[in-house]
Amino acid sequence: MSALYFLIPMSLLVLGGAIGMFIWSLRKGQYDDLQGPAHRIIFDEREDQVRRDRQE
């Protein structure tokens, strides 16, 4: 059971890290627009690739 004394604080550290990362992404405005960025990644694909996909 003594493992708890190590593991639970570790999990809390991970928790703190997760919240920290969330704050960072929030400040960066990553949650302000939930539509645009979802598509943006597709647009910078090479165009011939897109064309091929469409033809299939």
Partner: protein, 840 residues
Amino acid sequence: MSTVSGDAVPDGRCFHCGEALPRNRSWPVQVLGKAQQTCCPGCQAACTTIVDLGLENYYLHRDQYSARPGDAPVPDDLFANVSDTALAETGYVANGKDDAGGETRECTLIVDDLRCAACGWLIEKSLNAMPGVTQASVNVSSGRVRVQWLADRIQLRDVLLRVRRLGYRVLPFRGGTGSRLDIERRNSLLRLVVAGFGMMQVMHVAVGFYGDAAQSMGIEHRDYLRVISAFVTTPVVFYSGWPFLRNAWLSLRNGTPGMDVPVALAILLAYFASLWAVAVEGPEVWFDSVVMFVFFLLVGRHLELEARRKATRVVDNLSAALPLVATRLRDNREEVVPASQLRPGDLVRVTAGETIPADGVVLEGEGHVNEAMLTGESLPVRHGPGSTLTGGCTSVDGVFRINVTASPANGRLSRIVDMVNSAQAGKPALQELADRISTHFVVVLLLLTVLSWVLWQFIDPSRAFWIALAVLVVSCPCALSLATPAAYTVATNHLTGRGLLVTRGQGLAVLPDVRAVVFDKTGTLTEGRPTVIDFRSFAAMDEARAREIAAALEHDSEHPLARAFRRTDRDDPLRATQLRVVPGRGIEGVVDGARYRIGARAWAGATDFCRTDAATSPGEGAWVWLADGETMLAAFRVSDTPRPDARQVVHALQAAGLDVHLLSGDASGEAERFARDTGIRHVRAGASPEEKVAYLHALREQGGGPVLMVGDGVNDAPVLSAADVSFAIGEGTDLARGAADAVLLRAHLGLVPDAIATATATRRTIRQNLGWALAYNISMIPLAMAGLVPPWLASLGMSLSSLVVVVNALAIERRADRVLYRTAPAAHNRATKPGEAGSR
């Protein structure tokens, strides 16, 4: 709005906007190595701009046709009178410095027609590629663009022109980098996430306690887990739960304790009692219940906030209705000044297509003004010397010299905004059923706690404190406080799925009691755009042919009535040449080799009055005349048409025992006619915004019940916020949407009875929830007082009672359908085509 897959545009359609190509000619473009056709010089120009910028991939990625940019290419001097310095003075443009020390300016733009993510990509790419622009970012959800540029390289007008050239209508937006609602949303999201993560941690520790009913865990381990729980719970209570604590404190200080008081009390009691138990090694802690409670409450609040944000996509956007700059006449010279600097007595000039910058009286000039923004009427009104114009309306074809009578800040439009604000503030605060119960409940609870402590002093003083604490926590009004918000959250989501966005949950509480429903006419019960409803032929010309000729002549016209002729069934419409537009009269042009005139009767064909007079009785709408220069050929009656489900919905509401009223700003007698057609018995026509509010108040006093208002325009905004509960049409103005409790995302009037049914089901569920919560608390309290509730059961019971309330709320959807079927079968209008909503 039709969809398109990449560059696969069907033959006979404009490659850019997707409209049917004219038969005789088209404007070619070269896109992605293929020759394509567009329908007008405007589309051609926009498309060429996109190709020249190397952004033609846009066409591969868009999933909707582009918005129609206008018929002609954008002139270079379109934004010539937009000056950075004037805009900086009025707060649209912010000054700053970049990393290299150069002077930068920053502005937020509102972009209309930002339809899909590809549009956002296009604008962002093209602005970032523009020399002088340091940064540009597009928010597709809110339709806003933030742009920063070097002051010595370019001006805002260049940025605006670039966006306009891509085919988008664009306006600067005052309000800096983030609106109040955006900041509120970020905070709310963080609170929710902290509570969510906290809940996971505390719950998985708590499972250890639940499983340890036999209390076999070593004291040392138990205390260790307790300390961990306390450590995680603390930020959840004081950061995530802060809105509840603060509201409770504020409402106590104002002497109006609301639902937040028992909520805050429950949170704080359970939290501090647990802390105390940790400190003195008491028998039980309740951290799991605390975090779960906070998390559930926050989910509901966050959803409501999100709905509000979606509804008012552009908050406090009304200022956009007024132009930024005005052309002032002084000493026979024209100068461009910020519109906000206009004072009574100034002379301004307004040309065709411009927006009137301030209220004033016409000194010179004549023409039509579109007052739809104010009165909701789609047909423009004729104005001449001596008549009064309202700032924010648009001159359709007239050039006016205006004597300003009120500065924009004191003008009619600003007064309407003020009315909205004061009406909202004056709305009676709603006392929820749960509020009333829980306030009494808390008092009784505190008395019982004291009582049990006193009693146990006589039985076993060593247990007295813990038993008193158990009573307090076991009976904590968590389930009671959750009963209402959980039900509203489910009901709100259910309605959103159907197309009604509820922005203020309070509206749902009033809806089941509503005795009268008041509708606006134009744009609410009607489509809000003109259509041809009647036709007369005076020569051997059939309707189809006449309509085609009219469509050809009116194709490029900006006149509102022209929209009635836009839709033709043919894929290869006729095209008019040698077009000549006579403002205030009509259009002349050559179609298929013959010369035609369309417009006012006296102008189109002045001969044979008698014959045409008899056939065209005055009545609904306006007549538009078609002649070939000598004889009158045909006449069209153009009017706004009712929405397809208007009559059905009115009948359904009346069948459910509600009074239906029509309240219109239109004074032409059409309101009365319309009411007769749809079966509405109570009509008030020609009402100003002030009179509309007065009508509503009178109605409430007579009818003795809450009133539901449904409207769409700026002129409806005050009455929407004054009504007990109000819906706005999603296609309506931003101000109307901001003032209403809910927004109809699809133009489906059937949602009105739907919403009433859901609200009724919600109320029933809330009653059940309250009943259950009270029953649970009341049965547990005597057991706790008797010292019969083991700690693990108290803890589990609290969490479970909250869960039962949440799960019961989920049944609302099913119940809403049953209520609907019983009270208003006709209202469940599934016959209307869903595609119609977005066709505008």
